[in-house]
């Protein structure tokens, strides 16, 4: 492989990894916005799995 092709590989991998990070961050932003838009009832349902067996302060 010559130097030009090495540069192409490095540039392609860099762009791909950058886009992968952007895609992951974007999905996290979407998940966060979905969580922050939850209603009180939805939050309670969401937390019920973690709180099973413990006293629930809102009850």
């Amino acid at each position: 492989m010559n130097t030009r092709n090495r540069i192409y590989v490095i540039i392609t991998l860099s762009i791909a990894i950058l886009f992968l990070i952007i895609a992951i961050v974007q999905s996290q932003i979407d998940s966060f916005s979905a969580i922050t838009k939850m209603t009180e009832e939805e939050v309670k349902n969401f937390l019920s799995g973690y709180l099973a067996g413990f006293p629930k302060p809102w009850e």
Binding site: M1, V9, T12, I15, A16, F19, L20
Partner: protein, 308 residues
């Protein structure tokens, strides 16, 4: 054991020992095909995008096809970061290896290539011209998806619905891979009912017949010209083939071990790569790293590996 018996056993084993890579490749293809149809075995669908030709809407499909995800991303006016990243990573690391070792359509074409009919070859200029079909499919699918995406962005989901069967993944309406692995399955299972699928598909008869005709043409071509769909029509293959010229993983030829230039490698190559034209790395956009040339070479001049 007598010498004759030993000789007979060696002779009977010769075809297997001469096709070591082919056997490993077929096993790999079958395992990956089973995983891609994992719903049969109780696996779940996962949000994984792979650069292969397999319909995402297939009855047992577990992953997203890269080119379908690319179109779908554009139809909802989203920049497809993840799909570009996947194509870039797979392409830069392995070139077109996924076409030869993982793609279900590749496996299907390989099975068709075993039909005992004399295979035909095309000249280099014709090969180059025929590859423009894939360019046309890519441009058509992406531009159409973008147009749908722009109207979706302006007028919402109703505008997208107006495109009917073309609204989500435009190329899937004619895609022969979708016809084989999804449409025909659904058609054979349920038929097309006017109130459900028929209504959804609009003028379904016309497009159903059109896609069957396109599939028939592809089946004839892949029987006569091995991997014809891969070489001339496949959008995923064309995109990955672009990366072949500088991919990290690929075929290498040692010209010092090839004094006679017997040409067995080129005869064995299913995608007509002019292997002997290359001095070191084989970077032809058709090469799927299938390894048929390695099996065919009596001098051991070819090998597959990293070439940074």
């Amino acid at each position: 054991m007598t010498k004759n018996k030993e000789k007979n056993i060696t002779l009977s084993l010769r075809p297997i020992t001469n096709h070591k890579i082919r056997i490993v490749r077929i096993i790999t293809q079958l395992v990956i095909f089973s995983l891609l149809n994992g719903l049969i075995f109780g696996l779940a669908r996962v949000s994984l995008i792979l650069p292969i030709e397999y319909p995402t809407g297939g009855p047992f499909s577990t992953v997203w096809s890269g080119f379908e995800a690319l179109q779908y991303g554009l139809t909802i006016f989203t920049f497809p970061y993840l799909v570009i990243a996947i194509f870039g990573l797979f392409g830069a690391v392995a070139g077109k290896t996924t076409c030869g070792w993982a793609c279900p359509m590749g496996l299907f074409q390989d099975l068709f290539s075993y039909i005992p009919i004399k295979k035909k070859k095309v000249s280099k200029p014709t090969e180059k011209s025929l590859r423009s079909f894939a360019v046309f499919i890519i441009i058509f699918a992406l531009v159409f998806s973008l147009v749908i995406g722009i109207s979706y962005n302006k007028n919402g989901a109703a505008a997208k619905d107006a495109y009917g069967i073309w609204g989500n993944i435009p190329y899937s309406v004619l895609d022969p891979v979708a016809t084989i692995f999804a449409t025909l399955f659904y058609y054979l299972k349920w038929g097309i009912q006017a109130e459900t699928l028929g209504a959804e598909m609009g003028d379904w008869k016309f497009w159903f017949i059109a896609r069957i005709i396109f599939l028939a043409i592809i089946l004839i071509l892949i029987t006569l010209y091995p991997r014809a769909y891969c070489r001339w029509f496949c959008p995923t293959g064309y995109i990955l083939g672009f990366f072949n010229r500088f991919s990290l993983f690929g075929l290498k030829i040692n010209k010092n071990r090839c004094p006679t230039g017997c040409n067995k490698c080129e005869k064995a190559c299913p995608v007509q790569v002019p292997i002997l034209d290359y001095d070191k790395n084989i970077t032809h956009p058709n090469c799927t790293n299938c390894g048929e040339c390695i099996d065919a070479c009596p001098e051991g001049a070819l090998k597959i590996g990293f070439r940074f």
